[in-house]
Structure formats: C-alpha cells, structure tokens
Assembly symmetry: C2
Homo-oligomer: 265 residues x 2
C-alpha cells in the first residue's frame, strides 16, 4: 500500500494545504457544514496511526465522523489529496527551534532523533512516497529546519541540500524497519520473535548450505548471536542501532567535508 502524492487538482490541493485552517463561517443559504477539512484530516490521521495505512479508507474516515464516505467529498477532492494533507500536517508537528549553542553536531543529532520519533508516532508517513513533493507548509517547515541546522556547519548551501537529503534518507530508511516491525507484529498477531524463529528454522531446513553460499552473511549471523539480551524487540533495537550508526557515519562525512572546505584556504 504505497500512496503517491501530488496527483490531484493542483490549485485545489494547494489551497487546502496553505489556506486558513479555521474557515470563516459561511454566510449564505444552505445547511451549516457539519464537518471540516481539519476534522477529516485529524480523523484520517487517527485511523492511520491506530490501524495503519491499509485500514485507511474513505468509508472508515466517514464512519469515524458519523458520516458516509461520500460526505467527505464535499470537503476534500479525493483520497490522494487527503493523504497529502495528512502527510503535510503531520510533518508540521516537528518543532522548529534547535539550539546551535552546543554546536551543529548535537543539534543535528537532536533533530534527527525527533524526526525518528515523529516517524515512529506516525509510521504510515513511511508509506507516503516523498518523490513528488507535496509543497505544503509542513514539508517546507521540515526542510527549513533541517537546512538551518546544517547550514550552521558553514558549508555552502548547495552542498547542505545534499546533506539534508542524505540525512533524511538515513532516518527514513532505518525508522522504516522499526516502525514496520511494530506494525507487523500487531497486524499479524505474531510476535517478532516467533516470526523470526519460524523463518530461520525454515531457512536451515530448506537451505542447508546457506553458510557456504553466503559466508559473510553467515559470519554476521553467528557473531550477532552473542549480543546482550534486551527488553527491546530485536528488530526494533537493530533498527535504532542502524539509525544511530548511520547518522554518526554521515555526520563524520560532514566533518570531513568541512575540513576539506576550510583547510586548503
């Protein structure tokens, strides 16, 4: 269930994204609107948070608001636009102020951490393709915040944009494993350990020469067996560690870039 963004009527979408959230009470004939765009978006986000993107249907949103699916089409052009709105409103949750007093690195770490949390709170964000930008205030807000923190490295803005993109990808990629590990456990009812155990038992049975065909992977598996036990679910811990490690790696790369840029001068 991947959802594309930015496909619908451009003007209508942009007006919904950027328009005033509290619409002035309509003056004129007709029944008063019982719903509002914000209420619909909030309901949709609640559903996606609780039951995942797969459970998000126009009917489900309508029911949650005591209406039918078609009632929503008065406020929102279609499901695509609704998803755009959900995405952008959620990105807007990110806080905007990051203290740069203790250096760009700690600010970047804090920011990445908050992005991670945001995605864990709203795992369906990962199922909205970021390819065609939504161009809403939330997306701009995130970009601005990321750019501002990383521009404080002193690197030229034209390079900072790539750093931002890479950072965003590392966060998104690693949090995906964590988020969907939770989600899958909940949806399938099968705990992660059970799933993992069943699969690896099958692997051993069906592919006896696994270690021979993929020696490095096998070596990793055998070394990984000696990890300290933890309360945190395995895949989730794995994902968090990969996030932290990937981030450090990237920031080290940024430091190298700073040195290179200022050194020869």
């Amino acid at each position: 269930m991947v959802v594309f963004a930015g496909q619908g009527d451009a003007r209508r979408s942009m007006e919904l994204l950027w328009g005033p959230r509290v619409v002035a009470p309509r003056t004129g004939p007709g029944p008063k609107p019982g719903l509002s765009v914000e209420a619909i978006v909030a309901a949709a986000i609640a559903i996606a948070d609780a039951e995942g993107m797969g459970a998000l249907s126009m009917r489900a949103v309508g029911e949650r608001l005591g209406r039918t699916a078609m009632a929503l089409y008065t406020y929102v052009p279609g499901k695509t636009e609704l998803v755009d709105l959900m995405y952008d409103r959620t990105l807007g949750e990110l806080s905007s102020s990051y203290s740069l007093s203790s250096g760009w690195r700690s600010a970047a770490l804090a920011l990445a951490g908050e992005l991670w949390d945001l995605h864990l709170r709203h795992p369906w964000l990962l199922q909205v393709s970021p390819a065609r930008p939504v161009l809403g205030p939330g997306e701009f807000h995130v970009q601005e915040t990321l750019l501002r923190v990383l521009a404080s490295t002193g690197l030229p803005l034209s390079r900072v944009r790539w750093v931002v993109a890479a950072l965003f990808n590392v966060v998104r990629g690693s949090v995906q494993a964590a988020a969907e590990s939770r989600q899958a456990a909940r949806e399938t009812g099968q705990s992660e350990e059970d799933w993992w155990y069943a699969r690896s038992a099958l692997l051993g049975e069906l592919v006896p020469d696994l270690a021979g065909r993929f020696p490095t992977v096998a070596r990793l598996g055998s070394e990984g067996a000696f990890e300290a036990p933890s309360d945190e679910p395995y895949l989730e811990r794995e994902a968090r560690l990969s996030f932290e490690a990937g981030l450090e790696l990237l920031l080290d790369g940024v430091e190298t870039a700073i040195v290179k840029a200022s050194g020869p001068r």
Copy 2:
C-alpha cells in the same frame, strides 16, 4: 500502493523462494501444467516494469499468460507471495563480483551505482517495503555482496552491517525521487517541467510571504536558479546528484571510521 512482504504462509513462501526453478515433470494423473512459477513471476515483473505497481493485478498477469486470474493460484498462494518472489528474483539480478584491486572505495561506488541502475530498471522495487525481510536468495545475495565489499575496509563486521544499511538507505532514498519522477511524468501525462512550473506559480500566488517564512529554503531556491541547463530532467538530475553526494559523504564517514579504528592502535 505500498506492498508488504512476508505475510503469507511461511513454509510455502520459502519453498517457492529457495526451491528449484525448473520443476521436474510430474509423474501421475492430471493435466500437464501449462504455466510455471517462473513464467508467472516473469510476467508480473514485466507488467510492473512497463506499467507500474498500480497496474499489477492477478487478472493482468493471468491475461498476459492467456489465463484467468484464478489459474495463477495453482502455482502461487496469493498476490503477496508473488510480490515477494518478484522482489527477490529481481534483487538476484545484481552481479556478484566486484574487483577490490583498486580499493574498497571504488568497489563500493561501482556497487552502489549498480544498485541505483537496478532500481531505475525496476522502479516498483521501491514500493516493496523492505521492513520484514523476504529472506530469499536474492536478498541474501545483495547483502552478501554489499557486506563483502565493505568488509574489505577492515572494519569489524559488526560495524560493517550498519554501513551497509546506511548505504542501502541512501541509494534507495535518492533513487526513489528519480524513479518516481519518471513514473509520474508517464502516468500523469504531464511533463515534470509543466508540473513544477504550475505548482511554483501557485505557491507564489497563494503564499506571498514564502521567503519570509522559510528564508533558508528560499535562499536555496534562488541560488538553484543559476544552475547550468541540462537535457536530463530536473528532478532526475537532482536525484542523481543527491545520490552521488550522499554516497561520497557516507564513504568519507567510513574513512574516518577506519582511521579512528586503526589510528590509536
């Protein structure tokens, strides 16, 4: 249209993934099978390549093979498992030998480049969630190849795994923009320039104080306007540049890690 993986019957899935591709002719009563798992997977991949994941339906695959949708269920448990197979078979396309003679860095660059190409050839790969691993031969193959190249840095395997994860994320994240820029242009019939132009015109009209609210983004936009024109579509070029830059950044980080690990010794 995001698709989850690894949800169906575990044993059946694993047998399909790892079993022999050419099934021995059955001995016993009953009509001879007219199809095969491999033929079905190939047809499905062809459809997804040509028309995108949205056009992949059991009916479509069946029709392409001259059968009804239900005929496929004799060979494949369901659509989920079919997607797993498509994903894993496609990852298996990656070539496995990378010369380490000119150093790990050039090998890693070549490997990342091939991963990029692979994803551009099969853009629907990006719509298959990598959260719950498929655990098929193709996935193992990719992991093994990545691990082998990056293990040649001399870093401990326990750290190499994170490098691999981060690299994979950077590739996946950046190629997504490129792939979906192509796809969107084809599906909507609207060229990327048109789309971009329409949206930014709307932005200027609806959000007059954009530069005030998001100064850093605005600064980037104005500086970006002075780029050299290119035949390559804008977003695609953008994505490729972000790929290359992100990769360099990451590999710089790896070099730092190598120095740190060997230096104090």
